[in-house]
Every structure is written in C-alpha cells, then in structure tokens.
Amino acid sequence: MRRISQAIRGLLLGFSLTLAAPVFAVQPDEILADPAMEARAREISKDLRCLVCRNENIDESNAELARDLRLLVRERLVEGDSNEEVVDFIVDRYGEFVLLRPTTTGANWLLWAAGPLMLLMAAAMAWAYLRGRARADRPQESALTQDEKDRLRRILED
C-alpha cells in the first residue's frame, strides 16, 4: 500500500517539476545597460505594488505580472520619460492601487498629517499634565493622614 502511494507520488513529482519552475525577481536579462537608468528603474520599482501579490513591490516579486511591469518601467525610461511620467503612465493604466507610497491628494492628506497632528495633540496634553504635576501644591503631600503615610512608607520600603 505504502509502496504504491510512493510510486504515485513519484509520478506526480516528475510532472510538477517541469510545470512549476520558479521565476526570479529581477532577471539578468531585464537589466538596462545604462547603470544610471537602471538605478532609476529600481527606485521606481520599489514604490510600485505587484497587483496580484500580497503586499510585495514589483522589484521583489516573482510573479509574471510584476515582470511585465518591470519591463514596462524600463521601456518608458528608455523612451526618455522622467520618473514621474513613468509612474503616471502606470497609474493611468492600473489605478491608484499600484502606488505603495500613497499620494497626498484628497483625503490622503489626513493619512500623512495624522502622525504630526497626533504628536502635537499628545504634546499639548502632556504639557498640561506636567504643569499640573509641577504646580501641585506642596501641602498636598503633608495632607496625607498618618495612616496613609505609613502605608506609603511600607510600599516604598519594599
């Protein structure tokens, strides 16, 4: 029984090996001859999403679509597009979803401003709190009852 299952498995193995040859991220044949232009292509690729993958940029992805996009980026660059023009070209065809670095247009400003705004708010709140602490009346400490003082001392001694 076991031997049969192994034989079947062996057969299947033979098939799938020919089917599922791994593809590579950036292939040697994709690389442009001009190193400066290639560097620009890599720079652009890192900010573009491989649409069929889960959260990978096209530079790192093994998918066929990512390869097509990489070739497209290089094609546009060779034809003399600036980096922005290449990105616009791709966004026109694939939509905003392709951008890993979200734009600042529309409601997206909120996304970019969220961190700094929150930091300002937190800083203001902390400032108010710390001022309160610094101004807290001295008598408050002596306002502790003897009982509370004992307890505090024991806690601090631990």
């Binding site: 599922a20 040697p28 990978e56 996304l111 930091l119 902390a126 001022r131 307890r151 601090l156």
Partner: protein, 655 residues
C-alpha cells in the same frame, strides 16, 4: 480515541473557564473567601485540560492521522518530524489551540505564583483572564474546531505550505503568542484594578513582571520572524510593513510604553490612569492582530485561510473586551488621583516623552495599516499604503526617541537640571558626532541615513554605558560597585544598548547594502565588492519531500577562500510550490547572501549576490533588548516581593 478525548478535554476546559469567570468575580464582590478560592483550582484544571487537548492534536499530527481534517490540509506523511510538530500551529485551528493553551498557562501561573496578591484582586484578575479564555474556547469550538473528523480519510495529506517548512515556524509563532497573550495578564490586572477602584505602587509592581515577560517574548518572536523572512524569502528583506507584522509591532511599542509608565506608577504614584489605558490598548492591539490575520480584511503574506464568519466572531470578541474595558475605564479612571509631585524637567517627564513617542508612532502604524479600508469605504478609493509610507512616517519618531533617550535615562527623579545632564553627556555626544562625521567623510555621496544611524547607535550605546558607570558613585572600587549594581540597572543599560545596536544596524544595512545580479558561467569567477565568487557546480538533488537545484559557490577574498556556499532552489511537488533557499556567509561586519536562479539559454545560471553590512546586528540588538528585559525581570525587588508582601498586605486591604 485520543482525538475524541482531546476534544472532550477542550470542552471541559471551556466549562472550567466559565466557572472561573463567574464564581471568583461574584466572590470578590461579596467578600466570600470560599467563592474566591475557586479561581485557583479552576485555573489549574483549565490549563491541564487544554494541555491535554493540545497533546492530543500533537499526537494526531505526529502519527499523521489523516482522518482529521486539519491534519489532511496541513501535513503529509513524508514531511520531516520537526515540521509535523510545528505544522500544528502552522494553520488557523491549531494556532488558536496554541493561543488558548497560552491564555490558560498564564492564568495558571498567576494562580500558582500570585499568593502575594490581595485575595480580591487575585480573584478578579483570574476571573478576567478566564473571560478571555471563555471567548476563545467558544471561538474554537464553534467556528474553528481542530478535532473535526473526515468521513472518508484520504490516502495522504496535502502538505504544509513549503515556506513554513522551516525551523523558524517551530519558534516564531510560539514566542509571538507568548507575547501577545502575555499582554492579556496586563489587561486582566488593569480591568481588575478598575473594578477594585485602586491603583497604587504595589499594583504597578505586580503588573510589571507580567508586562516585562510579555514584552521579552514579543521581542524575541518579532526578531525571529524578521530573521526568518531575511533568510527564507530570497532577497534578504527583514521588515516589510506587512499588516500582520504591523499587528505584532503595535503591541510591542505599546508594551514598551507600558513598561516605562509602570515604573512611574511604581516609584512615583503618577500616570496611573494612563498606565491602565496603555494596558488595555496593548492587549486590544494584540486582539486586532489576531483579527487581521484571520479575517481576510487586509491582504497579507501571513493570512490564514480566510473566513468571514470567523472574522465577525473575533471582531465581536475584540469589541467586547476592548470596548468593555474602555467603558469601565471611562467610568472609573477618575477615582485614581495622582500623588507624586515632580518638576517639568525630571525623569517622570522624560518617561512621559518616551510614552508619547512610542504611543504616537504606534498610532501612525495603526492609521497606515487601516487607511486602505477607510479610503475604500469612505472615499471609494482603492489604494495601497506600503513600506515607503511607513518608512517616512514612522522613522522620525524613532530618531527622536533615540535622541532623547540617553538624556532622559540620566535625569533624576522629581526635579532635575537639563544643563547638568547634558554636560555629563558631553563626551558621549562628541564621540557619537566624531564617528558620524568619520563615516560621512568615508562614504561620500551616499544617503545621510548611514551617518545618522552611526550617530544614534553610538549616542545610545555609550550613553547607556555612562549611565551605568555614573551609578557607581565616586571614589575607589567603582568596578566592584558596578558589578553589584541592581539587576534592574543592568537590564536598563543592556536593553537601551540593544535598541542602539538595532537602530544603527537598520540604518547601516539600508544605506550601505549592495546588490549584484548577473548570469554566471560555471567556474568563471566574478567580483562583487571586495569578494570573488565562483560557481563551481550545480546539482539536481532530492530532499525528503522536495526536489532541489543546488549550486556550489566558492566565496573568496584576496585569493583566500572564506567559505563554500550552497544556494538552493526547491520545488515542493505536493504543495506545487517553489522556494528559494539563500546561502549566507554570516559575518560580524557583513553577510554575503547568495541566491541561485534559473538556468539561462546560454548554459549559465542567474545568480544574485548581496553584501549586507551589519545585518546580524539587527537581531543581535533585539536579543540584547530581550536580555535586558530578562535581567530586569530577575531583579531582587521582584524576587523578594513575595516575602516582603506579607507585612504590607493588611495595609493595602485596609483602605
């Protein structure tokens, strides 16, 4: 049979948890000692039953029992034993069982070692912990039962995802879960304290070891995951800002904040309500992580088979616990008035700054992770928020944190003088600046990231060393006193130095990494940086459950062979999936990372070579952070707390 017993044990654990949730809570309210005492045996029983259920499922995986659905979907008889074991939590159902096992383990440990807690607080903590357990037992039993049988068992299993067939799977999830779930203890303590209506220095001292333990586990878990991604995915990335990574990073940041604010509560009886809030949020974010992994709401490389029904169930758990706790917080937070008085420039204030930076940075990640959903629902825009956003929005917070850390760490409690601390750090500052300028001069024309990283690393590490040294006082035998300093002091210095090392390494790796992609002919040497590589042979080999194309690459420098590397390209026929196995020559100052690709038409092979400077420092720094936490955890004041507590207990209960 064993499977059915396991299933039954899990139902029993569910029952025990329900009892543990209700009886001690009522007992604590009515001050009935007998009812409160139920918590301890119930917690022990709950843990033992869950452990048995876990062992039963483990048995099914190890013996390849293909009558179980979850084994069929995630295992294969030819899979190596280690991956049969770790395959248990490489899937949704099994990982949830691991999750409740850890929930019950933490509950049981609190029951066993919590003898020094006031009885009402202990009963309430265990009841809240049991409530978390109840929610997840119900989740497992009603939506994701791992013990379901198949009517017609198949011949063999469908194998585990090949990317998961790695020792990384054996360690990464258990550590991560120990961290996530460890935060449930901080949560239970926070909720119990809100019900009690009292938070004081003693409470902070009890809650800190649990938080510290959870944070240590989380640190190790995240570092292991990052290291695993580094060597497994084939291009040496170590952090992708993937939703699930973010889900583990947010609780880590909040737990780090909580650790620091609990110190203020313990030493100065201030920041109480903020600390409670952090404890609730830290666990809330752990639950959000679980929700993200299992709901399919966000696409991620980590997501398990997605099922809306499960997503809704976890969302309900999340809303009930976080929402309920926050409501309780809103109602009761006013009770906790602050006692400590301190000046604007003081250690307390520095810790507030630490908390702001950690909490806001974690908020930025939260916002970025959820923004695609918000944008789609509210503005009908389908967009992505990827690594470029997080790198630019998150990094400034870490730079700020690194800049203020050595100053804040040396400020005295209550009231300090900024000028004085700054003056004592003058040599540290000059050293860091000199190193940064040196690097700046050496690397001409590259990004400023490298020098900034060098500055921060040197500033934090030598600042931590100076902090430790300054605690030895004046006069002779400072070295002797250095060794005898409290472990908490050592822990602080080591953990901070670890952060410095990690920040430096991330900046250095990002700034100075170099890459080479080319077609290589056999036995034709090629140069990458200062190294000469030669592909000497390529073989077709066969592993236990995969086929492999294995290259042999000689790595040499200046004519001397440093090592022989074996990059592989594997095909897992059952799962129909290829993987790349990079070969790495590890070094202190750099890794050489070699990946073999496809055979080209001209008979050569595609080969990718990376030189990754200081890569190991990233995880080395993380391990230092965990070691620092461990040193702190072993500090005398936690170990002696049990004995010293007895005297103080009455006073605490008397209020």
């Amino acid at each position: 049979m064993i499977t059915e017993l396991g299933h039954f044990a899990l139902v029993l654990a569910f029952m025990a948890a329900i009892v543990q949730m209700i009886v001690p809570m009522v007992g604590a309210h009515k001050r009935w000692p007998g009812w409160m005492a139920v918590a301890e045996p119930a917690a022990t029983l709950q843990f033992l039953m869950t452990a048995f259920a876990f062992a039963a499922l483990m048995h099914a995986f190890v013996t390849s029992d293909f009558s179980l659905r979850v084994v069929v979907l995630n295992s294969h008889s030819a899979k190596p034993l280690l991956y049969k074991i770790s395959g248990l939590w490489g899937n949704h159902e099994g990982s949830m069982l691991l999750w409740v096992l850890i929930v019950s383990l933490f509950g049981a440990t609190a029951a066993w070692f919590g003898g020094n807690l006031p009885p009402t607080l202990r009963a309430r903590v265990l009841a809240v912990q049991a409530a978390i357990g109840v929610a997840f037992y119900a989740f497992i039993l009603f939506t994701s039962n791992p013990f379901l049988r198949l009517a017609v068992p198949p011949f063999d299993g469908e194998d585990l995802n090949p990317l998961l067939q790695d020792p990384g799977l054996a360690f990464h999830p258990p550590f991560l879960y120990l961290g996530y779930v460890g935060l449930s203890m901080a949560f239970s303590f926070a909720v119990a304290a809100l019900i009690e209506g009292r938070v004081d220095a003693a409470w902070a001292r009890w809650v800190r070891p649990w938080t510290l333990a959870a944070w240590i586990f989380l640190t190790i878990g995240i570092a292991l995951g990052s290291w695993w991604a580094y060597y497994e995915l084939g291009w040496g990335g170590f952090w992708f800002w993937d939703p699930v990574e973010n889900a583990s990073f947010m609780p880590w940041l909040l737990a780090a904040a909580l650790l620091h604010s609990a110190i203020v509560v313990e030493k100065r009886e201030a920041l109480k309500s903020w600390t409670i809030l952090l404890a609730i949020l830290a666990f809330g974010f752990s639950l959000i992580g679980t929700f993200i992994v299992r709901s399919g709401l966000l696409t991620s490389v980590h997501a398990f088979a997605n099922d809306p029904e499960r997503g809704v169930f976890i969302l309900i758990i999340l809303a009930a616990f976080t929402g309920g706790a926050l409501m309780l917080f809103a109602a009761r937070a006013g009770v906790m008035e602050a006692r400590g008085v301190f000046g604007m420039v003081s250690r307390e204030s520095a810790l507030v700054v630490n908390n702001i930076l950690l909490a806001v940075s974690s908020f930025v990640i939260f916002f970025g992770t959820l923004w695609p959903i918000v944008a789609e629902m509210a503005f009908d825009r389908k967009l992505s928020v990827g690594p470029p956003f997080f790198n630019s929005a998150f990094t400034p917070f870490m730079v700020l944190l690194g800049l203020v850390l050595p100053i804040g760490a040396m400020l005295p409690w209550k009231r300090g003088r900024l000028g004085r601390v700054a003056w004592s750090l003058r040599y540290v500052f000059m050293l860091a600046l000199a190193l940064a300028l040196l690097v700046w001069a050496m690397q001409t024309g590259r990004s400023t990231l490298g020098p900034v990283g060098v500055f921060l690393g040197a500033w934090i590490v030598s600042g931590a060393a100076l902090d430790l040294w300054s605690r030895t006082g004046r006069g002779g035998n400072r070295l002797g006193r250095l060794v005898r300093l409290p472990r908490a002091d050592w822990g602080k210095a080591v953990a901070h130095a670890g952060l410095g090392a990690t920040l430096f390494a991330i900046a250095g790796l990002t700034a100075w990494e170099s890459e080479d992609i080319r077609v290589v002919q056999l036995n034709a040497p090629f140069e990458v940086g200062a190294y000469t590589l030669t592909l000497t042979k390529v073989e077709q080999l066969r592993g236990p459950n995969y086929f492999s194309t294995t290259g042999t690459v000689e790595l040499a420098r200046g004519g001397r062979v440093l090592s022989v590397l074996h990059p592989e390209k594997r095909t897992y026929p059952v799962a129909q999936m290829p993987t790349t196995e990079a070969a790495i020559d590890n070094g202190i100052t750099r890794d050489v990372y070699v990946v073999i690709g496809d055979r080209q038409d001209d008979g050569g092979w595609a080969v990718r070579t990376y030189i990754k400077p200081f890569a190991n420092w990233i995880w080395g720094g993380a391990m230092l952070m965990a070691l620092g936490g461990l040193l702190s955890l072993s500090d005398r004041r936690f170990r002696v707390a049990a004995g010293a507590r007895k005297g103080a207990k009455q006073a605490v209960a008397a209020e």
